[in-house]
């Protein structure tokens, strides 16, 4: 696209230390671009939630991944009215419907309902066994005020490639 400029990209399997490095790199990029604090913080939250989800999930299925699979990536681009954060990772086909239903539910809500949904899920998460409340995607939609764009591309009969695109506009 004519108006798109890539600010930042990384391709490869993520780990916590790589995520830390990418965050430090993003701070350095911000020193050059001097984004408004609120835009920078939104992008940082989106980036971290995406990367943490991505690497924790991929680590959980790492031993099952076929050879030669597309590597996970993250890419941040400048677009006409703001920025787009795009990421991809392999996903087991058996996990698709759970994820897709979750995204569809999030995308159905307006700003007010999304906040209510987020608070409800945070509250439910306080004393559940799971170590995280599982609100990363809801948080992303809530702070960006944008629908979550996603796609799946089948790799084989067990895996597909899951791509996520989040827009952060400069004026919201």
């Amino acid at each position: 696209m004519k108006d798109t400029k890539i600010l930042f990209q990384y391709e490869g399997f993520f780990s916590h230390s790589i995520v830390n490095k990418l965050i430090r790199d993003f701070y350095e990029i911000n020193k050059i671009h001097k984004l408004p604090t609120s835009v920078f913080k939104k992008m940082l939250i989106v980036m971290i939630e995406i990367l943490e989800n991505n690497y924790k999930y991929v680590q959980s299925i790492q031993n099952e991944l076929p050879e030669g699979i597309n590597l996970p990536y993250i890419k941040i681009s400048k677009i006409a009215r703001g920025f787009e954060i795009e990421s991809a990772n392999p996903l087991k086909i058996e996990h698709v419907s759970l994820l897709e239903n979750k995204i569809k539910e999030i995308n159905e809500y307006n700003k007010v309902l999304l906040k209510e949904f987020y608070l409800k899920k945070l509250l439910e998460g306080v004393y559940i066994e799971k170590d995280t409340p599982g609100v990363g995607l809801i948080r992303i939609a809530k702070i960006t005020h944008n629908k979550i764009k996603y796609s799946f591309k089948q790799i084989d009969n067990k895996f597909l490639n899951y791509t996520l695109r989040i827009k952060v506009y400069s004026n919201t």
């Binding site: 609120s38 940082l44 971290i48 906040k115 945070l122 306080v126 170590d131 990363g136 948080r139």
Partner: protein
């Protein structure tokens, strides 16, 4: 309970619980690699301490705690554990203790302000939101 002091790192917050002065501080960045391992022992100690105080219910209304949150980043996994910490102090407030919860934020950082507002809504406790200019 002994005082609690945890040094901050690039990814974990500073935590100070001064038992004698009844002040609790959580500041910096909270996105530990293993969020359970990081918060588990803190939660356990605060739980024990609050349970001990609640055994002497008639004295609880004489207690006053200052909670100071001065965070620059919280991941969603950490919010669960921060809510658990707040919930312990809320138990004391329901028995008459005064819990003064201060939530500091950089004036331009509306995200950390929003995080505080969300936690306050979820736990149903009033926070004092204090902007750093």
């Amino acid at each position: 309970m002994e005082n609690l002091y945890i040094e901050p790192t690039e990814i974990t917050p500073k935590i100070v619980f001064d038992v004698k002065n009844k002040t609790f501080e959580l500041s910096g960045i909270s996105r530990p690699e293993d969020v359970v391992a990081f918060y588990e022992s803190i939660i356990f100690k605060i739980d024990q301490y609050v349970s001990h105080l609640l055994k002497n219910e008639s004295e609880v209304n004489k207690l006053k705690f200052d909670l100071n949150f001065d965070l620059t980043y919280i991941n969603s996994a950490s919010s669960k554990y921060i809510l658990q910490i707040l919930d312990f102090f809320k138990k004391l407030s329901l028995k008459g203790a005064i819990i003064n919860c201060n939530w500091y934020y950089e004036d331009l950082d509306d995200q950390i302000l929003e995080d505080g507002e969300d936690l306050s809504d979820v736990i149903r406790m009033d926070f004092n939101f204090i902007a750093r200019i």
